[in-house]
Symmetry: C2
């Protein structure tokens, strides 16, 4: 499995930065715009508030980074919010963090793909008219790539990530140059120099939206094991670099957006408007939109590794169906990929591929998991009292308090815009987790209780094999051969629908199946199933206590849809016997050309 | 089975009339309206053409009745269009008739239910706004009743049918009385006394629509066996009665609609407008709408007996999947009911529950089967030369020519309104029938060819049983017991995911399963399936030529949705082994409380 392989690979910092931070860095593609939209709805002047709001988000970024540095130190094997919350606060907190993260991974796919499509749309008008379709196609594309098992090689990540950083930095440099030379179109009127009076609720709302810039920054603390030794030092260094790049890009974009008087307009993004203003609609414009779209798709792709990994952790603790726990199985992994893609595609369709409509759902889960994870770390420090634990606990405390405050702000300002969905969904998921665990526990208790009343396996029980026969053909002969290898008591039965055909069968029988019994069953109402079931009941009564295996010849056709024309009787028998104790069914397949 | 029971019941004519003619009689509920709609789109004056058109439909009714009287005589066991065409013209003609009939049965459900809903809607405005939903709910209701196996008792039919006849006759009597007393609102201006010039195409179109009145009149000739002896005399008498009642109701309604200047309007039907004009919106209005809706639902219900019966006939000839042929099995019957309901509900949704939009599809299949059936009868007479065969052949000839002419008219005038769908669908169905038969024939040839190269069943082959074990619990013990009853070579295998747990299992093993081998499989990537599959391959190589049965313990939970939490490994193993020859899977079920 790629994930296992990756854990042993241990890659250099510059590659790890690319692998782990595409989600975080890509969020600058929509964060500035999200701040501007609520402000622009009030007035153009109000948009100047975007600067102090961006600074606040930047401060929050620093606080969260400092806080997560402590997690890296203490959880060298990777400390996800689920693990940290569960181990330090308790199972319930862990489940809440787990539920928020699962929802987050789905939203990461939906938001990133939608934003990617919006960036494409800014360059290709055709895409703009088919945003939902394009979004769903991209999700399907990522899903197919993952189902076919792309190598999660760090090289695939490195190129688009550094391309994106490079093109955004070029954009920022170009913009700053223009600004310094005073080459700005429509210079600001004096009234814009001060901040107009604006309701605090609106500012908080814009701030909440801007917090979308912080999604994904915890990835490095989860991925410590992939760094070269000393892995935690390397991880901490890399995280500082990521914060630096993210901060510069986000603040720079917001500053330029303000300086160049960018207003959110339909069909364009802040990045596309900026690059058009600074470099014109030339080749760089298309490069910039292309790399932005690429890193967003890459960010969506990271969820395809995170989602099954977390589901596996939760499942091993018994809170999700057991099949999620064995990550090593392709088929199990596939279920996760399909579930994740279906949920993300559903969100894209429902929210019409509009990033702005999806963002309110996004940030609640992220900040809930931040808060729980930081709180867990405080408890960790108080328990472990490792070196410098007071400093660490203080930093985590600041982190926990801040992210909690932000969580409250987001939940309040964004409640009606969609956060309510997540607020309802998280407790529902948690109670689902718990009822799954309760079921497994019940079954386990029941099995343990019954095992104590069971006898060890005994010697041989008697065995009768029944072969329902539809005529004499090689498939039936195979089935009888199989039945004879089970037991000597093989009873074939045939439903008499046409006396003429039955007579012929009876006369040919001894030639093909000597020494086996053929019982002809009458069927006054032309039913095939009922006589066979009655016959089985009679055999059961007669050979009381023996095992009865029904051996059914089944055709395997070369074309799958031909399968519909065969084996229906087998299917019905299987269903009918499903609830009869002591009767077993085995299909003996016969392959048609 | 009800159908078998019915065949032996032999009911009196008055009951048989109710059972067999609800489909035909119910069509007067929409036929007049269908004539008026195309005319009313031209002008109010043009609607006076409805009278001669209705007379033409009436003549057609007499011709078809006379023609079908011959079928009753010659096919005392029931002569459906499929049988008559196949036996006299040839397989191909039979398949065309069969395809048209299957489509017809679906349309009967869709049209009758839609018309029933429209009649309810005329009385209950709420229904008018939710026609599609109401239609689908009624289809589901009929389906559920049939799935639960309502007795197709003649008593259920008698009441609504005679209620309907009674209320329509009352309506006609009331209307005639009013007419004779000159109490007609808005007496006709003089200009309406003559027939205005109208394009012949429009008249043919209105006539085609009016032919919807003739759907279902063949039912008596299919159902001869249910009449008391002499059944064919009784059937012929009853058919005359049905024609009489149908003719009087249809002509009477059209005459009154003309006299009372009824114009098709949204949310009302001809019957509802007439009964409102004649008796006012009192209790009789609701009785009239209620009985009309009831007979329409009853008419839809008749398809639920006809569809599986015809599918069974076609299937016995090898043109439909074999499972349709054993009518005696509840489950097989259920598939037909579900398929019929799904198709009808689909049509109702697509055509928005509008009878008028469905009618163009309806009549093509009906008249195609009429034509084929009459043509088959002509050939029958020429071959059999029974008493009075020339007279019979002549009557069938007139019938065949007329219905063929009508078929052409309908196909031409209604082609663009929807008849094209049926014109495309029938050949598609016929080719599907043929390819199904070809497949069965191919398989049969292949099996016969291979049988000649097969040896008779031999004695015992070796047998190895493999039991994948997930721990020690009663379900596993049951599986091992079962395996031991198959063979003495039982090999249990366990996938080692946690060395500690594995050690414990190993130490407890001899206590619970003495003398059986436990193989511990390593799984470096935490996969459960891969190690088991590899182990099976190794066992296969080691015991070359022996049969290998994998015995899997499977849990049966008391709540179906709990099933999702178990047995997924069994499912995956089953899928993985699906295409491995020589390996068999048997599940040993363990029932949880």
């Amino acid at each position: 499995m790629p994930t296992e392989a990756m854990a042993h690979e241990r890659i250099p910092n510059w590659k790890a930065l690319a692998v782990l931070s595409s989600d975080a860095l890509s969020s600058v593609a929509y964060a500035t715009e999200e701040i501007l939209i609520p402000l622009s709805l009030l007035s153009v002047a109000a948009m100047s508030w975007s600067l102090p709001i961006a600074v606040a988000v930047g401060l929050l970024l620093i606080i969260i980074t400092l806080s997560y540095q402590q997690t890296i130190e203490c959880y060298p094997h990777g400390g996800g919010a689920y693990t940290v919350s569960k181990e330090n606060i308790g199972t319930h907190a862990g489940l809440i963090a787990g539920a928020s993260l699962l929802i987050d991974y789905i939203l990461t796919v939906a938001v990133s793909v939608s934003a990617g499509v919006q960036n494409m749309a800014a360059a290709i008008p055709y895409v703009d008219n088919h945003k939902v379709v394009c979004g769903v196609v991209i999700v399907i594309f990522i899903a197919v790539m993952n189902l076919r098992g792309i190598r999660e090689s760090s090289n695939i990540f490195a190129l688009p990530t550094y391309f994106f950083i490079f093109s955004l930095m070029t954009l920022l440099a170009g913009g700053t140059y223009r600004y310094l030379m005073g080459e700005i179109p429509n210079p600001a009127p004096i009234i814009h120099e001060t901040y107009p009076d604006v309701q605090i609720f609106l500012i908080l709302k814009a701030f909440s939206s801007g917090c979308a810039a912080l999604t994904g920054i915890e990835a490095i603390s989860n991925g410590v094991p992939i760094f070269k030794t000393p892995s935690h030092t390397n991880a901490k260094k890399t995280m500082v670099w990521m914060t630096l790049i993210l901060g510069v890009m986000f603040l720079g974009l917001t500053f330029l957006a303000h300086t160049f008087r960018i207003t959110p307009i339909h069909g364009q993004t802040v990045i596309s408007q900026l690059s058009m203003s600074i470099f014109g609609k030339g080749i760089f414009f298309y490069i910039c939109q292309g790399t932005t779209a690429a890193i967003l798709v890459l960010a969506a792709n990271t969820s395809y590794a995170d989602f099954p990994r977390l589901a596996s952790l939760i499942s091993r603790d018994g809170f999700l169906p057991r099949q999620f726990s064995s990550m090593g199985d392709r088929l199990v992994f596939s279920n996760g990929i399909i579930a994740l893609s279906a949920a993300a595609a559903f969100l894209i369709v429902i929210f019409k591929g509009d990033t702005h409509l999806l963002i309110p759902l996004y940030a609640v889960g992220v900040f809930l998991s931040f808060t729980l994870s930081q709180t867990g770390m405080i408890i960790f420090h108080f328990r472990e009292r490792e070196a410098h634990w007071i400093k660490s606990a203080f930093l985590n405390f600041v982190g926990a308090i801040t992210t909690f405050a932000v969580l409250i702000v987001i939940a309040m300002t964004k409640f009606l815009s969609g956060a309510w969905i997540v607020v309802i969904l998280i407790p529902l998921l948690v109670s689902l987790f718990k009822s799954i665990q309760r079921h497994y526990k019940d079954v386990n208790d029941q099995l343990t209780r019954k095992l104590h009343r069971s006898a060890p396996v005994s010697g041989r029980l008697g065995h009768v094999a029944v072969v329902p026969v539809s005529g004499i053909h090689p498939g039936v002969l195979d089935a009888i051969n199989y039945a004879l290898s089970l037991t000597q008591d093989v009873r074939c039965c045939y439903v008499n629908l046409d006396p003429h055909v039955t007579e012929q069968l009876k006369s040919e029988w001894p030639k093909w199946a000597p020494h086996t019994q053929l019982v002809v069953l009458d069927s006054p109402y032309r039913s095939v199933i009922t006589p066979v079931l009655n016959f089985l009941d009679n055999v059961g009564l007669e050979t009381y206590g023996d095992m009865i295996t029904v051996v059914i010849p089944e055709f395997v056709t070369s074309k799958w849809y031909h399968q519909l024309l065969h084996n229906q009787t087998a299917l019905v028998l299987r269903t009918a016997l499903k609830f009869k104790r002591g009767k077993f069914i085995t299909s003996v397949r016969y392959y048609l050309d």
